[in-house]
Structures are given as structure tokens and as C-alpha cells.
Amino acid sequence: MLLEVRDLQVEFRTRDGVAKAVNGVNYSVDEGETLAVLGESGSGKSVTAQAVMGILDVPPGKITGGEILFRGKDLLKFKEEERRKVRGAEMAMIFQDALSSLNPVLSVGDQLGEMFVVHKGMSRKDARAKAVELMERVRIPAAKERVRDYPHQFSGGMRQRIMIAMALALEPALIIADEPTTALDVTVQAQVMDLLAELQRELNMGLILITHDLGVVADVADKIAVMYAGRIVESAPVHDIYKAPAHPYTRGLLDSIPRLDQKGQELYAIKGLPPNLMHIPPGCAFNPRCPMAQDVCRTDEPELYEVDQHRGSACHFWRECLNG
């Protein structure tokens, strides 16, 4: 297994108390595989990714438990210097907002080349040539001329391509893409997702795709982990989850997508709001919003029950949910 996250726990200590952002997350991704992590804001999907990359803000953040095994070695036991070598070279991240993730006062060529200067000790000139090569690879037209341009001179889609180029620079084994297309328009989103999927196939990378868009997930993912209040509530191969969700939250998300046959009717809406992470409800965190909740849900926290060999659901009533 390329990456395995085991029972990860992350807290944020704030003035108002301790926010439990990640409460025992398990997931894994193999080479050439795409794992989609699905969740709303505050579900802990990005924090988990930051912990894996080792870019969590510490403090206020703190990893209080668990393991992050990369090729079998626990990254949390690494010293910062060792971690640095892994970051960029072995695993890389693509962020949502390319404009604020790129340095506005350096040309894109300098920023792309920097990877090779720092990690590979290349000369500036060679690094520049590498930068052009990368830009061609992500299909930026007229790469040779544009290598001297600054981020603001590129359109949103082109900037996101540069982010992808930067992540791919050292041919990492794992890419974490945090909402890579959320800021883009649909037609450009399709271009960028296609490119990402193609490069992943070509380089046989593992891809963790963090998103809230059920459509994007259905398009590219092999398996899905659905997060809610810092936990994985359902994990399954992509086809299974869309056919028959085994958790009421997943079901609610799928049902709240407007459907043709429902036009003119009320949309299904999950009632209420996601919980405050400082006061996660006892029992199942989803119970106050759940249409299936029973007494046991308010007292006992459900474990991730095994639905079948490849599927898990953290719901006491997953069988009922699965059967509608």
C-alpha cells in the first residue's frame, strides 16, 4: 500500500476550547488508484490531507494520535528534515486557489524551476529548461514564451495547470488534490480534471482527491471516503456508493442533488447544520440531523461496520439504510 492513514486524530486548540477536527480517520490509497474524500466544510477532509503532507499549522493544530504510513513507514516519526525530502519529491499537493498559492512576484518559470534547484541541485539554466518541459506536459500553449510570465498573466485554468505542473515536477508517487477545480468554470474544470486523470494514469500515481462535488467524484474516483465531523462515515468503491449508500448522510447528500423527475417538487434537504467541532454530539455525530436516528444513536458511537469486504459504514442501521 502506498499510503495508509490509521486512526488519525487532530485537534485545534483555540481560545474557546479544543476543536476536534479529525477523530480517528482511516484510509488508504495505492499506486494508480484514486481515492475521493468527500465532505462539507469543517468535515476534516482538508486537515487530514494537511497532516499527511506535513503542512498542518502547529500550533494551533496538533496531531494527537494515529499513524501515517507511507510505503510502510510512519511519517509522524520522521524528523522535519526527512519529512521535507518526502514532501515534493514523493508526495505533492495541488491547492484549490492557484492564484493565492503561487508567488505573485516570481515568474512561473522560476517557481517551477525552484523545485529542481532545491531538490535536485540543478543549475538555473537547466531548471528553466525543465520548467518549459513541464509546462508543455500540462499543455500550456507557447510554453517557451510564457515561462517568463507571472501568475497574474494566466487565466484561472492555466494557473491550475501550473499548480499541477509544480506538483508533478519531481514525479511523486502520491498527489493530494484539495478541491482542484472548485474555483474553475465547468468547461475549464472538465479540461483540468481530464488532464489530471491522464497524467495520473501515465505516471501511475496515487491520487487523493478532496472535494465536495459528487459529480466530480463519480467521474474520476475508484473509491470514496465520506467524512462527517472529523470521521469517515462511509467508505466504499465508487459504484456501490452511488447505487446504494450505506449511511444516511451519504444518502442525504445524494438525495439533495436536484433530479429531473423531481422538478417542481421540494428538494430533499438534510435538516439542520453540521456540528460545532468543539461540541460534537455524543453517540453518532450525525444523529441530530438523521431521519433514521434511534435512542442508541444518541448514546453509542457507531464503529465503522463492515458492510462487505470493501465497504464500511459508521451507522448502527446500515442494513436498513442500504435497503432504502
Binding site: D213, Y242, A244, D255, R259, E266, A269
Partner: protein, 363 residues
């Protein structure tokens, strides 16, 4: 020029008629003597009508001018050319008292519930502020009660009247924004991306609220968004904008199931479908390149630089928004306004790919 077939049949009495709407922002050079060197053609000739009680969805990508249209509708921007008629009267030429009265009837709900509410005002003051400007709507002693009623209408606890915006979640804030929009009992609401800043599970709540309010208060909506499935759910008719113009407009099933403009087809085909089985048998049209700059709009058809059908005629002749000749005699759903010389019907969203029976039946 507008034929009777045109304007894609809103059959009800029109409450809003927009004709030839243009907004150009001048680009100037020089400090002492400013001279105009060009213009950002944000909106470049838009026509549509909105019927009473109807919802018109406007979709398009960023920079297509949809938000500028919204601003002109509520008179936050003055059009460079064209007219906006509310019940037959052109509000874009009004001033003074007449303008103030007209504005009351067209209100806006903004996209970002975080920045569109003043953080230093209580919810009561925010929702009640319109009454300061239009005191004739509610006498002073009555206002607090009205605000509480509005809170109740949008599904918030009326006791929250003294709270501040930061004490609310995104979805609740959007409800506050909607309550403010309703305060003056307008007849038209212009909603500019009202749910795009919200989480998926909360989006549905707000959409349902807008739907309910429409029936309750007999509202007409102009609903602007980039999320095509949400627009379809809420709209009676849909207009697709590209680079400052409407390229195709019609009833929702005409646009979604029988699009004839290549841009609409590309846009629809690019929307990810929440059904992994659709992955294989879905045809996707991936457009090359980016939207051209609105300062330098291509000649002829503005979509031709990204269009796979473009021919010489497209660069010479601006296609008009009308029912294309080949469909003019037919009465089917393909016969709706589409600004393309080579319009042809193409079903891009296969009916079986719609997540029709999601979650029904375990097998």
C-alpha cells in the same frame, strides 16, 4: 426585428422586459486628458422577458456578464444602452422619486452571505434598513414586528433579531439576506448565485425556501447561477450567456434536453454527472482554450474561437438570437431561440445518465 416566435414564449404577462441591454466600461489612457482607448464589453446586447410568477434562470461562466445584468436590473449600474421595462415603464431612464418607487419592486439577493451583511449591524437593523429608505411601506412602530415576521418566514427564530451576522452559519446568513430582499414586498427578486457559497446539504434548504416564497408572495425570479442542475430545478425558462450575450434561451427542457447552440452543448456535457456508470457512455465535449477577453470580442459569432463547427461565415456574420431557420417550421422542443448559424439538435445529457433512481433499491 423581434419576431413573434422570438423571446421564447413566456406565455404569461411580462413583468420585466429587457431589450438591447448593453454595458460597456470604458478603458482610458492618459492622466490629464483621458482618452478612451477601448471598452470592456461586459454586456453586449441582451434581450429577455420575465413573466409574472416565472423564474428565469441565467447560466454562464465567469466573465460572461450575468452579474452585470443583475446589477442593471436592480439599478446598481446604469446601462450604456437599452431598456429595462418594469410593467411597461423603462426604469433605466428614471430618476428621483420615480426611480426610488421602481426600485422598491425589484430587490436583490447576493451571492456571498459573509460579505453582503454589515457585521456591525444586528439582524433586525439589516432586515429593517430598507424601511428607513422606504418609510411608506411600514410605519415606525410596526417595523420590529415586521422584521420578526420576516425572520419567521425565512425559517429563522424571530428571537434572533438582536444577534449579529457572525453568530449565524452561512445558510442562515443567506436566509437573512433573503429576508432583507423580501422586506419591501417586491414583485421581482434578482438572485445572483444565491447558493454557490453554501455547502451541499444547506443549498437544498435555501432552494426550497426560495421556491416556497415564490408561491407565498407571488414573486418573479431572475435566478443567476453557474450550477446547471440547480438552475434547471428552479427555473421555468433558462438563458445561456456567453461573453456578454444570450446565445440560447428557452424553456428548461428545450435548453437541457434539446440544446441547439454548440456552447450550450459543451457546457451541459462538461457538467460532471453524479453517476459513475455514466462515465463510459457519456460523450463529453471538451472546449479548447479560454473565454476571449471582453475588451476584444471576436468578430461575427463570439463563440467561434472555441467552436468546433466554426466556418468562415461565423467570423463575418453575427448570428441573431432567434429560432434557427431549420427549426422554424417544426414545432418541437428544438424550435427555440439559438444564436448559431449552424444550430443543430444534440442530446448531450443521456436520459439514462440522470441519477434517476439513486438510492432506490439496493441492487
Amino acid at each position: 426585428m423581434v419576431e413573434s416566435t422570438g423571446q421564447a414564449g413566456s406565455t404569461v404577462e411580462p413583468i420585466l422586459e429587457v431589450t438591447g441591454l448593453v454595458k460597456h466600461y470604458p478603458l482610458t489612457q492618459g492622466i490629464l486628458f483621458k482618452k478612451q482607448v477601448g471598452a470592456v464589453k461586459a454586456v453586449d446586447g441582451v434581450d429577455f422577458t420575465l413573466g409574472r410568477g416565472e423564474t428565469l434562470g441565467i447560466v454562464g461562466e465567469s466573465g460572461c456578464g450575468k452579474s452585470t445584468v443583475a446589477k442593471m436590473l436592480v439599478n446598481l449600474e446604469r446601462p450604456t444602452e437599452g431598456s429595462i421595462k418594469f410593467k411597461g415603464e423603462d426604469i433605466s431612464k428614471m430618476s428621483g422619486r420615480a426611480l426610488k418607487a421602481a426600485r422598491r419592486n425589484i430587490q436583490m439577493v447576493f451571492q456571498d452571505p459573509y460579505t453582503s451583511l454589515n457585521p456591525r449591524m444586528t439582524v433586525g437593523d439589516i432586515i429593517g434598513e430598507p424601511y428607513e429608505i422606504h418609510p411608506e411601506v411600514a410605519p415606525k412602530g410596526d417595523r420590529r414586528k415586521r422584521v420578526q415576521d420576516l425572520l419567521d418566514v425565512v425559517g429563522l427564530n424571530p428571537e434572533y433579531i438582536n444577534r449579529y451576522p457572525h453568530q449565524f452559519s452561512g445558510g442562515q446568513r443567506q436566509r437573512i439576506g433573503i429576508a432583507r430582499g423580501l422586506a419591501l414586498r417586491p414583485e421581482v427578486i434578482v438572485a445572483d448565485e444565491p447558493v454557490s457559497a453554501l455547502d451541499v446539504s444547506v443549498q437544498a434548504q435555501v432552494i426550497n425556501l426560495l421556491d416556497r416564497l415564490q408561491d407565498e408572495f407571488d414573486l418573479s425570479y431572475v435566478f443567476i447561477a453557474h450550477d446547471l442542475s440547480i438552475v434547471r430545478h428552479i427555473s421555468d425558462r433558462v438563458g445561456v450567456m456567453y461573453l456578454g450575450r444570450i446565445v440560447e434561451i428557452g424553456k428548461d427542457e428545450e435548453i437541457y434536453d434539446h440544446p441547439t447552440h454548440p456552447y450550450t452543448q459543451a457546457l451541459l456535457s462538461a457538467v460532471p454527472v453524479p453517476d459513475p456508470d455514466a462515465r463510459e457512455h457519456r460523450e463529453r465535449i471538451i472546449l479548447s482554450g479560454d473565454v476571449p477577453s471582453p475588451t476584444n470580442i471576436p468578430s461575427g459569432c463570439r463563440f467561434r474561437t472555441r467552436c468546433w463547427k466554426a466556418q468562415e461565415r461565423c467570423s463575418l456574420e453575427v448570428p441573431l438570437l432567434a429560432v434557427p431557420a431549420e427549426f422554424r417550421l417544426a414545432s418541437g422542443p428544438a424550435a427555440h431561440d439559438s444564436a448559431c448559424h449552424f444550430a443543430e439538435e444534440k442530446t448531450v445529457v443521456p436520459p439514462e445518465a440522470t441519477p434517476g433512481d439513486l438510492g432506490n433499491g439496493a441492487e
